[in-house]
């Protein structure tokens, strides 16, 4: 089932420079998609389009075969419930004045989802392996990795179909990074991830499908394994060759 679909999408800011050109993408339920690109590739803009935060200059974005209509409030509410996001910086993405309970409950309240909020928050905390009493505390009491878990709990509380993860582990230490990746893997049995990152290894760990973005164009896309084994485009080859590797054992 196609959840999100971009067809012939282009984007330019205020008639200025073209940021994205002719993007065709489709996100299938149950198949995680990785979007890899470096600075200036347009991946942040693509993410905004996927979240419905910017409007395309050309082409269409559709959600469950319906064109994204930012004017239709009930449609957008359903869209927001289904598509949630987690961002890179665990320090700036959580409101420091709110208790964790209210941070996690926020999507339920703003989307007016009829449910037992206390239970939903408790479930979400359990899903991200945080203790129940975390709900009463404030973000500053948590480490970077724990804050990212709180951000993930907020993203999953409304039981979305898609989570867009934008460089979610880039700011974390290696050992914390590994644990968050494990958590995302566990969660991906229940929802589909779109992983946006400059790190092709992270994407390889989490995603079945891969898209390589360079200067606003998709230069290569396909099944992650095939793409890693036989990268066709010179830029994909360069990206792979640039990944620092561990010295060979032995």
């Amino acid at each position: 089932m196609t959840l999100l679909d971009l067809a012939g999408v282009s984007f330019a800011y205020g008639g200025g420079k073209t940021i994205l050109q002719n993007i065709d993408l489709s996100i299938q339920a149950g198949s995680n998609l990785g979007i890899v690109g470096e600075s200036g590739s347009g991946k942040t803009t693509l993410l905004k389009l996927l979240l419905g935060l910017e409007r395309v200059s050309a082409g269409t974005v559709s959600f469950r075969d319906q064109s994204l209509n930012t004017g239709n409030r009930s449609f957008m509410r359903g869209f927001r419930r289904s598509v949630q996001a987690v961002f890179q910086d665990p320090y700036s993405s959580l409101d420091p004045r709110q208790r964790v309970f209210d941070i996690i409950a926020e999507p339920l309240r703003s989307l007016k989802i009829e449910t037992d909020i206390a239970n939903a928050v408790a479930d979400a905390l359990r899903d991200v392996d945080l203790p129940g009493d975390a709900a009463r505390r404030y973000p500053h009491e948590f480490s970077g990795g724990q804050r990212q878990r709180i951000a993930i709990a907020r993203a999953i509380v409304a039981k979305p179909d898609i989570i867009i993860a934008d460089e979610v582990v880039s700011a974390l230490d290696l050992s914390t990074r590994t644990r968050i990746i494990d958590l995302m893997r566990t969660l991906s049995s229940r929802m589909t991830f779109i992983v946006v990152s400059h790190d092709i290894a992270l994407v390889a760990l989490l995603c079945e499908q891969l898209v390589v973005l360079e200067k606003g164009l998709i230069v290569e896309k396909g099944v992650t394994r095939d793409l890693l084994v036989r990268p066709a485009h010179p830029y994909t080859q360069k990206l792979l060759a640039s990944m620092p590797r561990m010295p060979r054992a032995g």
């Binding site: 470096e38 290894a201 390889a204 793409l227 990206l239 590797r245």
Partner: protein
Amino acid sequence: MSTLLSVDKLEIRTPGRTLVSDISFSIAAGERIGLIGESGSGKSLTALAVLGLLPEAMRVGGSILLDGHQVIGARDRDLVPLRGASIAAVFQEPMTALDPLMRIGHQVGEVVRRRATRDGTACGREEVSQRVLALLERVALPEAHRIARAFPHEISGGQRQRAAIAMALACRPKLLIADEPTTALDVTTQMEILKLLEGLVRHEAMGLLFISHDLPVVASVATRALVMRHGRLIEEGPVATLFDQPSHPYTKSLVAAARAFDTALEMAP
């Protein structure tokens, strides 16, 4: 080879807490050492201590002998000539090393001039600008003339880091400290900067203390590595041995995590 840096039982404390304790290691002339640690491990504090740049509120114990000079307890007046001649540093964010209001060529030129004055061979304006262009070319900046006239915000992050490296090179230091110099860069740029650094340091026979949380990055520039955790040195050895047969459980976990990323690249899910 002669010892360039010798750190013995280094301890760094604030009034309430010990941040770094019992750190001992040495770097020989021309040796390339990696210092591995996660956030809060004390790796950057150790580097700042070697540079004599710790905040005054911190108490420092032990000994740091840099090029024959004791750094701990030394007056800043005595440390200033040491920085530049014996030691120079490159940090994660090149913008912090560059003056945003000064053209790149001018900034590199200032270091060239100071180094020349210190050597007692004051050089004229033409000579300085020649050397600046040579340095910019040395760090593989394209169109050295254009970059020399550019302000920091007019060039890319990778180019800024190259400019910062050019400034460090202009000092002709015996030891270069590089603290996460590629963490803020794109992977393709990172690879270029790592190759550049490794080549320059080897060619100039400089010592290198390369600080990073990233194991494969350390492996690409260093021959020996130290692992720090919670302010202590927990393991050290040649990179090949350390990454192949780590003995401390913490090092083992870091190596396993790094290898998982490598494996992912070779064999996707």
